[in-house]
Symmetry: C2
Subunit: 664 residues, 2 copies
């Protein structure tokens, strides 16, 4: 295992307002945030959409503020729906200012302020329903989790508008939390039942410069899993009131509190809890230059992405408890692979890449974003997958069975609605994944067409990128700056799936290791560094070879043995019933044949369709309706049509399958 170490200057993301995305592939999703998700989810938060599960979210705030009568309704963490909506709205405002939306956000922030208790406490569930039970059920109460999402929203709003009202509200609450929790006598030595506040506190520290917030995050992380398990002790107290019956017989692994975090070597328990925690661990490792914590992050990352991750970047193999299971246990039709978990995986990978300047982390981030995260949302932005299976046979995804968590079609809204607003805030913040920068180098992670401006080596550089990554692999970049500015460096991530590529700078090959006439390049940890860019205008033409490819899983993955999946660039492909007929399990791909690809402008907003030859098991001979027989299989030749996984279930409902059997 290669050594992991801190880089002198960790990489920074670029403020969203500086990155303007205009990409054929991504625009159709990103425009949904402002045009569809923000208004639609706002209506839902206000219970204005018929036939959708009641949210009651805004109403809870009004009741907590004493402005309306009624009881709390919804999940114990219902407030986070608003928090994530605000965070998404803030990103939208940062990218494209909008008076009406800003007004709505400001008003909502005021409502939140009015719902805050005098001592700074803010949580409508406990305020309305059980004020005396504050902090008595950290295991299930989600108070710290909810606070975390509110803090993230507050930081995002502050960064978007510069207004401090929300930030101050959340600082007051964070201050209260800092009084309640900590190592001191009389303080609570607990930690969150659902991690999230840790990474939020670090964001709050960066926004305010107040180190105590980072310290509090560090306390939560270091305290976790030490001594007697806090949650098991908590259950024994008289003040404890159970919220979720399914949490009886609690396993500390579920919340990664079974061991001190530095001693954890395998990704365990609830996948979303895990990755949110890993994000904070990475943040703290960087902030405190904590080598041991960074090692733990790397070990946990490796366990996830080398043994417990789907080809789509999904994590969480078990529907029950939405959890990690064991190494190489990756069933395709009964997994959970929650959209939020892949969002957390992307957040964690981005941090690891920033710390280490290692592009391999971004390979995984790209995998998660282009596949599972996008699969989570319909192309019209109106329905969502919580669970992202790799193989669906709708007939048996029925209630009260072992497959009941798998939905064969996206749902309009969920009782526990974490995923839809999480997708919204992720799409709105895509700009943060495209680039990193340090003093004098611009790192290109994702090839998404955009216009960006930033300071590099003291001078402004404007970047115009036009990318056709998901189709031809052809990318053009223009780098513009004023005459005479200092030289800067460009670091291009060479994706792990690209075996051949060319980079032309002003029409000439940028040769690795050699001082070419134009530019000198070197490869380091997956980035191609192009140094000494000095001219006022430099044109780069990048060609990644992205033909469709047959991918196999490690043979230890029992579920995928003897199977192949098609990928093209970062995209995982799948077969859908609407293209290939029913019973996709009867199909065998002939991987000795060449795949064909064609761009279809009219299909699903424009996608590259891939076809391949194969065979299909026939029902000939089974007309007698027998279930088992001493009968040889009988095949016909077929042509298989594959479409990108992220856009499955946007036409007719039906079967879907990623891992195809292959002729052996």
């Amino acid at each position: 295992m290669k050594d992991i170490k801190f880089e002198k200057n960790p990489l920074k993301t670029i403020p969203l307002r500086q990155v303007e995305i205009h990409d054929r592939f991504w625009d159709r999703y990103i425009h949904l945030v402002k045009d569809v998700l923000i208004p639609y989810q706002w209506d839902i938060l206000n219970d204005r959409i018929e036939g959708v599960e009641t949210s009651h979210c805004i109403k809870n705030y009004r009741i907590a503020a004493g402005e309306e009568e009624g009881d709390f309704e919804g999940a114990v963490f219902q407030d986070t729906d608003l928090a994530k909506w605000l965070e998404a709205a803030a990103y939208v405002l940062e990218i494209s200012p909008d008076k009406d939306l800003e007004c709505l956000v400001d008003e909502t922030i005021k409502l939140i302020g009015r719902a805050q208790c005098e001592d700074g406490y803010l949580n409508t569930y406990f305020t309305i329903k059980a004020p005396s039970l504050r902090w008595t059920n950290l295991k299930e109460g989600h108070e710290l989790y909810t606070a975390g999402h509110m803090i993230e929203a507050a930081v995002a709003c502050y960064e978007a508008t510069g207004k401090t009202e929300f930030l101050h509200i959340m600082e007051r609450f964070a201050d209260l939390i800092g009084q309640v929790f900590g190592p001191g006598e009389g303080q609570c030595h607990g930690y969150p039942g659902h991690q999230e506040i840790e990474l939020a506190l670090i964001r709050l520290y960066h926004a305010t410069g107040k180190k105590e917030y980072a310290e509090l995050a560090r306390y939560f992380i270091d305290q976790r899993g030490t001594g007697e398990n806090y949650f098991l002790e908590e259950e024994k107290r008289e003040t404890y009131r159970q919220i979720f019956p399914e949490f009886a017989d609690y396993d500390a692994k579920y919340s990664q509190s079974h061991l001190p975090v530095r001693e954890q070597t395998t990704a365990e328990g609830h996948a979303v809890r895990a990755v949110y925690m890993y994000c904070a661990m990475a943040d703290l490792a960087q902030l405190y230059q904590d080598r041991e914590l960074l090692e733990a992050c790397r070990t946990l990352w490796d366990d996830m992405v080398r043994r417990r991750m789907y080809i789509t970047g999904g994590i969480g193999s078990s529907g029950l408890l939405e959890r990690f299971t064991t190494d190489y246990d990756l069933p395709n039709d009964s997994n959970y692979s929650e959209t939020c978990a892949s969002i957390g995986l992307a957040l964690f990978g981005r941090r690891m890449a920033q710390i280490t300047k290692d592009a391999s982390y971004m390979d995984v981030v790209e995998r998660a974003l282009y596949n599972t995260v996008l699969s989570g949302i319909a192309m019209d932005g109106k329905s969502f997958f919580y669970v992202n299976p790799l193989e669906v046979w709708p007939d048996n995804c029925i209630a009260r069975t072992s497959r009941e968590h798998v939905r064969p079609v996206r749902q309009t809204w969920f009782g526990v609605a974490c995923c839809p607003p999480n997708i919204a805030r992720t799409l709105a913040s895509m700009g943060q994944y495209i680039y990193f920068a340090d003093e004098d180098t611009l790192y290109v992670n994702l090839y998404i067409s955009n216009s960006t401006a930033l300071l590099l080596a003291g001078d402004e550089v404007r970047v115009e990128m036009t990318s056709d990554l998901t189709n031809s692999g052809h990318i053009e970049m223009k780098l513009l700056r004023k005459e005479g500015a200092g030289a800067f460096c460009l670091a291009l991530r060479i994706p792990d799936y690209v075996s051949e590529y060319s980079v032309l700078a002003d029409g000439e090959q940028a040769v690795q290791g050699k001082a070419s006439r134009v530019l000198q390049t070197r490869i380091e940890k997956g980035y191609l560094y192009i140094e000494g860019i000095e001219k006022a205008e430099t044109e780069l033409v990048i060609d990644f070879s992205v033909p469709p490819r047959f991918v196999r899983a490690n043979p230890r993955v029992r579920a995928d043995a003897g199977k192949t999946a098609i990928m093209k660039g970062p995209l995982v492909y799948c077969l859908e019933e609407t293209d290939n007929g029913e019973n996709l399990s009867a199909i065998f791909a002939d991987t000795t044949q060449k795949m064909e690809e064609r761009y279809e402008e009219e299909l699903l907003g424009g996608i590259t369709v891939i076809t391949v030859k194969g065979k299909r098991l026939l029902e000939d001979g089974w007309e007698d309706g027998s279930l088992y027989a001493q009968r040889s299989p009988c095949f016909e030749d077929v042509e298989l049509t594959a479409v990108p996984y992220h856009c499955w279930n946007n036409r007719k409902p039906g079967e879907m399958l990623v891992w195809m059997k292959e002729l052996v």
Copy 2:
């Protein structure tokens, strides 16, 4: 679909005392009942075994009888553990009288009598815990289910010993039930939440001749699923107290009460409940010559065995709610296939065969008995499978995951211990499956070595059968009778898996359709009838061709597409890790190659091992630990070793797999 109709003389089973089994294959299991199961389970019922979940069963009876202090412990249907033990003990006594065991049974019956309430009510849970709640929760209370098993035990004891005490106890209770339930005003119009009493009441009718018991069974069956659902109405009453939290949001399909039974066309809900009900439907159809009910039985049978049954005779595809799901949904690694459900399937099939004289029902019965039922018990009789998967990867059968119901090793005893005593009573009653008889014909269903004596055409016939069905397929039968007795007929079931066979009567071929010199034969519904057997001694030599065969599933079974299973005679084979190494999913059978078989005397008590050539996916190239890669699969030639499914997990724990991938 062929017409189904009643036969003039339905077939009868032969009393167990007349059938003495001495079979190489079956003896090792059957001897367990008397030598191991009866004494072991008796100790468990009395809480005398360390390290096994407390049963409290006998103690509950003592408390109910007022002879001991304490509270009820165990499941609401804990009494049935004793009932099934008594039923098994009765069968053992019928086969081989034993003073000590009979004493124990008699004493236990007296205890049961003392635990009975004055009005005849008998159920230790309600008597001890909630006397005022009798009959208020039919959905979950299992009162009628428990009564049913007690009635079955009482009938078995009466048939074994001729003593009537237990029978009278249960008649008193049945009389009370007949007062409480029925169509009359003031009677309860409910029916059992878990079917069982219906078939028991019919047995009680046959034992006592009292038609009212059959009438009560008919009431329960005909009332079921009519009008407003009884259980959903019951929930609304003030007297209702919930017992099982998992039954919230109850679906009437779970208990087959969603439709009147005659209108049900698909096997739905909890598999054990379903098949116990179908048994009673078949009994009632026969008794009342109810053609419509028989049609319903046939429809439900066909749905099960043609679309919802595993190759092992297992039923119940979903771990959650232990239930049927949809047509062709037969996942191999997450199914339930409860041992008790296959026992119920065998009981139902036996009844259908008796009614219709159609051997195809016995094909399924044989499948269930030789595979799933036997898989349910370890070869030492000390541990049991509740769940019978067809593919097990022990690493991921862990608590709190989607696979948590699957146990990779048999368990010593269960909190809900329905399966172990159910296996005991089934093994003890195997004699009832071997033969049927009517006036002048002996039907041979199962080829299990035995000595039997019975009256046929008015005279005694002694039968000696020596069978090697599971190995060579060679069977010898001697039919002995006194000189000059009237001619009788023998009907040999020709198993569905036998494509070639020969039957020699006294050394000459018994030719179908032709009057041979010896005997005339004809085939009808799967039985080969050999008519006019007149001599004092007739020797039959039957040779069934039972080479190992590759079986495929209907291509609609997604889980088995591209796979094959090995069978030999009635036995399903499987691969075990101990013979084939870990990762059985990486193995491909070469079905173009001939299988080899060899009898291994020392292995697992003597089994026929089957080997076949194949390939195994190698891990070569994956040493870098990557999870997904553009890498071609790499194989080595291997020889696969298969053993009978029923005896898996009797050596080292490890992986197991029935459906192997095949080279295509």
